[in-house]
């Protein structure tokens, strides 16, 4: 590449530093949002892996038990009959300490050495201290610091109504001390855990180190044969992969939002580069006259955009790092709320997001600048001799882009339907559609602005407005790109906003419908392995005066031939059964079978994921062997995206032979004052630790609070997207004003005041925002529809109703105008300060 050509390009950019910096910032923000999300996702993912690894030590395999755990004799048989010495049993439990959930890991310290403490350096106390004391626990130094505990401290934790006094006998040392995956884990002796947490004679899993090759396979086979129903042998990676799959949909959705920001950024790059090419058409023509080839000009423009892209990407990576650090807590919190208790809380940086961000930043820069680069290469040498307006070329390009856009829009449904259940295909289709619309919008914006300006100009006393609008309409094509960027950002906001709003309304409706009792009492804690409520508590609650009826539930993880399944075993009154929201006739038909324990219900996500429907049979592995239950109906449940099955309590009692509830619902007579009843229930529950009492209203408010917390990150990303678009508006407006500097100078020379110039530009920016907002409305509705009916369905299995209200749409329209007006303040101020004489002198 010729150095003088390069120098000419570089100097053009440095002569317009504001424009260049804003372009770089546009790219940087696009990359930053994308990298930030990716970093946060990857960090949470790595935290998940570290948590799994830390908890399983150097085990190659794990035996995972079902809800009931394994009989500890299984462990003995593995050691004696199979002869595998490298096996260590464990008991797990979740306890609450100062409202913080902690994981208890009960280990056999003698068997454990080869798994996590080969040098015997981790445990600072003698094994007998742990073996002989029934309250001794260990923590990592970091956990102890966070919890405010010191070695020797006594403290209490609670689990399912029982308080346990524990003693911190020491802090882990050696390599284990710094293991972030062990944050918030209380280590204790397995016998202590069994005794304290109601697991006498049972274990929750066994860590194994199996050799590779044929011997390992043979050992795995022998162990698998020895396992009872409900227990499974998994390679460690399989365990991680299963957890990773759970959070995948959530991560993919966030990544999609990040990519949308990059798409908006891409329009900004296109805008900047096409502007710089259009402004230099005479220069390009001169170069062509001097003998510069098309290839030389093409390479020159691409190289320029690559430099801008590189600068923007570098800045974007840095900003992305900061953004990711801020967002990781939001991502981790959602993962904790919904999926798995991450013991790792740190921001863990992985190189992949930076690599992907670099490729995306440079790739989108090149892609976005390809059309203007081709335009530059095709510059006719005559352009040097003609004062062609910058609009002409764009005008010619617009209809072609619009046709391409319509073709992409038509292609989108086929991509969505190409893989019926694929989330990635759904998102690819959505992006294809958005991109298609985005390509059509510049043409549409041009037509719309012409029509609106004609309309407004016809108004009496339109004055400066009319002048501003005519100027806007003339530059319609130029405005088209920035209108598109803003419209896409606003539309994404509308789409995501409507989806969240519809989701929230559906959840709220569901809560109102399903929370039939007046007061709920349940074990406090997130784990479905929690032992049931104390029988005495249940007895006293059910004997309360004024109690009309009651419901009860036992939440469990039961085994199916295809893995564990969250099951709610429910003992319901007829009116409680109405909470499933089934059609009245259907409910009447099913109820007798449910009451007799002859049918189960399954939630929508479970039905969607497994492809099950009413009439199919659900197989659960009970202690007496596999049991089949007819699926009577599929019901709406937003409680878990993994899916839930509702098993009649009678069936559970019959087939599992276990009594006890993890939660009860109390229905009082209408004459009972509910506040007094609540106070009474609380008094009864106060005698039992680890019990949570909530009125229906409180439970509903808490559920919606968790919902809102889950979507905080979505809102944060909506605003980030809008910020990217705003930078784009400022860039485009500056570019436009640069182009019109002479025209504005003529106006100033003719007697326009600075205020009038600012008014003129503000009119145009407000108009730009209005058009962007108007175009964003249908696109936003389409995005919302797709998010609800395709993306959400595929990601989580939920069926939602799109609920459209005028308020968010008007809010979006106002936001578009406000964003454009705010973004226009600086360009307006700048142009009002231009000295007319200097501007008129400039060639």
């Amino acid at each position: 590449m010729n150095s003088l050509l390069g120098r000419a390009g570089a100097r053009y950019l440095t002569r317009h530093p504001g424009l260049m910096l804003l372009s770089v910032l546009g790219i940087a923000l696009g990359v930053a949002v994308s990298v930030g999300v990716d970093l946060a996702n990857e960090s949470a993912r790595k935290a998940l892996r570290l948590s799994v690894e830390a908890l399983s030590g150097s085990a190659t395999h794990q035996i995972l038990a079902g809800t009931d755990g394994l009989d500890e004799t299984v462990y003995v048989r593995i050691r004696r009959e199979i002869g595998l010495r490298e096996a260590a049993p464990k008991v797990e439990a979740t306890v609450l300490y100062d409202d913080q959930a902690l994981r208890v890991l009960g280990l056999d310290w003698l068997a454990e050495a080869s798994f996590r403490d080969p040098q015997g350096e981790a445990v600072p106390v003698s094994a007998s201290d742990l073996l002989n004391a029934d309250d001794a626990v260990l923590l990592t130094p970091a956990s102890a610091r966070r919890l405010g505990l010191q070695s020797g401290d006594r403290f209490s934790v609670s689990q399912a109504g029982r308080v346990h006094q524990l003693r911190l006998v020491g802090l882990l040392t050696g390599a284990q001390a710094d293991n972030p995956g062990l944050e918030g884990v209380l280590f204790t002796d397995i016998a202590t855990a069994q005794e304290r947490f109601g697991r006498a004679g049972r274990i929750d899993g066994i860590d194994l180190i199996l050799p590779g090759g044929q011997r390992g396979t043979a050992l795995a086979q022998a162990i698998a044969e020895l396992l009872p129903a409900g227990a499974e042998l998994l390679a460690r990676d399989e365990n991680y992969a299963a957890l990773d799959r759970l959070t995948r949909a959530f991560r993919v959705n966030l990544t999609a939002l990040g990519l949308l920001a990059l798409l908006v950024g891409m329009f900004l790059i296109y805008n900047t580069m096409s502007f710089s090419v259009l402004q230099r058409r005479a220069l390009m023509g001169s170069l062509r006259m001097l003998g510069a080839t098309r290839g030389q000009l093409l390479r020159r423009v691409l190289l320029e955009s690559l430099w801008l892209g590189a600068a923007g990407t570098a800045l974007g990576l840095l900003l992305g790092l900061l953004l990711g650090k801020g967002m990781v807590s939001l991502v981790s919190r959602t993962v904790n709320d919904l999926y798995f208790m991450l013991s790792v809380r740190d921001f863990l940086i992985t190189p992949r997001p930076f690599l992907v961000g670099t490729l995306l930043g440079l790739g989108t820069s090149l892609l976005a600048s390809l059309p203007p680069a081709l335009d530059a290469a095709n510059t006719h040498p005559r352009a040097a001799t003609r004062r062609a307006t910058l609009e002409q070329r764009v005008h010619r390009l617009e209809p072609r882009l619009a046709i391409l856009g319509i073709a992409l829009l038509a292609l989108a449904p086929f991509i969505v339907l190409s893989a019926e259940r694929s989330l990635v295909a759904g998102l690819a289709g959505l992006f294809c559609g958005i991109f298609g619309v985005a390509l059509t919008l510049p043409w549409l914006a041009g037509r719309l602005s012409m029509a609106l300006s004609t309309l407004v100009s016809a108004l009496p006393r339109a004055g400066i407005w009319a002048l501003g609008l005519r100027g806007f309409a003339r530059a319609g094509s130029r405005n088209g790109v920035v209108v598109t960027a803003l419209a896409v950002a606003i539309a994404a906001g509308i789409g995501v906003g409507l989806m969240v709003q519809s989701f929230r309304a559906s959840v709220d409706d569901w809560l109102v419908q399903s929370l039939r009792a007046d007061i709920y009492v349940a074990v406090a804690g997130p784990d479905s392995r929690m032992p049931p409520l104390d029988d005495e508590l249940v007895r006293r609650l059910f004997a309360l005066p004024g109690l009309r009826t009651q419901s009860a539930v036992r939440t469990l993880n039961l085994s199916t031939p295809s893995g564990d399944l969250l099951v709610k075993s429910m003992d319901l009154p007829r009116e409680g059964f109405a909470g499933f929201g089934l059609d009245t006739d259907l409910a009447d038909k099913i109820w007798p079978r449910f009451e007799r324990g002859e049918a189960v219900l399954i939630s929508e996500p479970l039905a969607y994921r497994q492809g099950w429907k009413a009439g199919d049979r659900l197989t659960l592995l009970s202690p007496g062997g596999p049991r089949q239950y007819p699926i009577a109906a599929v019901y709406t449940d937003y409680g878990s995206d993994r899916g839930v099955a509702i098993l009649p309590y009678r069936a559970y009692l019959r087939d599992w032979g276990e009594a006890g509830f993890t939660g009860v619902g109390l229905y009082f007579d209408k004459s009972v004052n509910l506040e007094r009843a609540l106070a009474q229930v609380r008094r009864v529950a106060a005698d039992f630790e680890g019990v949570r009492v909530r009125s229906t209203a409180e439970l509903r408010a808490h559920s919606l609070e968790v919902f809102d917390r889950t979507f905080t990150i979505t809102r944060v990303m909506q605003y980030q997207l809008l910020l990217v678009a705003c930078v784009g508006v400022v860039t485009a407006l500056l570019a436009l004003e640069l182009e019109r500097v002479k025209e504005l100078a003529v106006l100033r020379a003719t007697g326009f005041t600075r205020v009038q110039v600012m008014g003129l530009i503000s009119t145009q920016t407000g108009f730009l925002g209005l058009i962007a907002g108007l175009m964003a409305l249908p696109l936003g509705l389409a995005i919302a529809w797709t998010l609800i009916h395709v993306i959400n369905r595929r990601a989580f299995g939920w069926l939602l109703e799109l609920q459209v209200q005028a308020e968010p749409l008007l809010h979006a329209l106002g936001l578009a105008m406000a964003a454009a007006l705010i973004a226009g303040v600086y360009p307006a101020w700048r142009m009002a300060r231009v000295a007319p004489a200097a501007a008129l002198r400039e060639e």
Partner: protein, 230 residues
Amino acid sequence: MSPSQIAVKLRGLGKAYASGDAMRPVIEDLQMEVMRGEQVALLGRSGSGKSTLLNLLAGIDAADQGSVWVNGRDIGGLGEPGCTLYRRREVGFIYQFFNLIASLTARENVLLPLELLGVEKSQARQRSADLLEQVGLSARADDFPEHLSGGEQQRVAIARALVHRPSLVLADEPTGSLDADTGEQVAELLRRLCRDLGATLLLVTHSLDLAHSMDRVLRLDHGRLVSVEP
């Protein structure tokens, strides 16, 4: 006149542009020959086809009929890449509005054609310095165009058009945006340098004085050659 002495030969040249649904002829059946080193003025009213003729000669527009021969080669058959190389090697073009590259200094503007030709750096520097000296702008070599007067900018443009020693120099109203005195100086400079170089000069102008200072004056009207002086 031997064929080797002919720099430009036009045979039955015709060019029309679309005007609404109809085609408006700009040049019709033009026959013309220009000798090597000859300096020819093209006179005519606006729209008479003068600039179109220069564009056809520069290979940036294609004829609808007839042929354009430059130095014994039909440039109509060169194709786009061939025309680009033809301009790079054999043509120097001077515009009414200078069209200097604003982000390059005077020296860099002059160096540009040599760089495109791949002339060795020190040689290119020497040649551009010589030419800038000849146009009297050595002292302003490192100034950007915006800091130069109109006359100075046009002198830089002349230096840029001649630095690669083209055989054909095309000038489209080179004095059109300059005052009379400056225009005369610039025209004199252009004529002298082309003569020194032995380049053929075709110059479009509305100035009769400038036209008559050339070797020959061709008058165009509605795309036809209506008179030749002397």
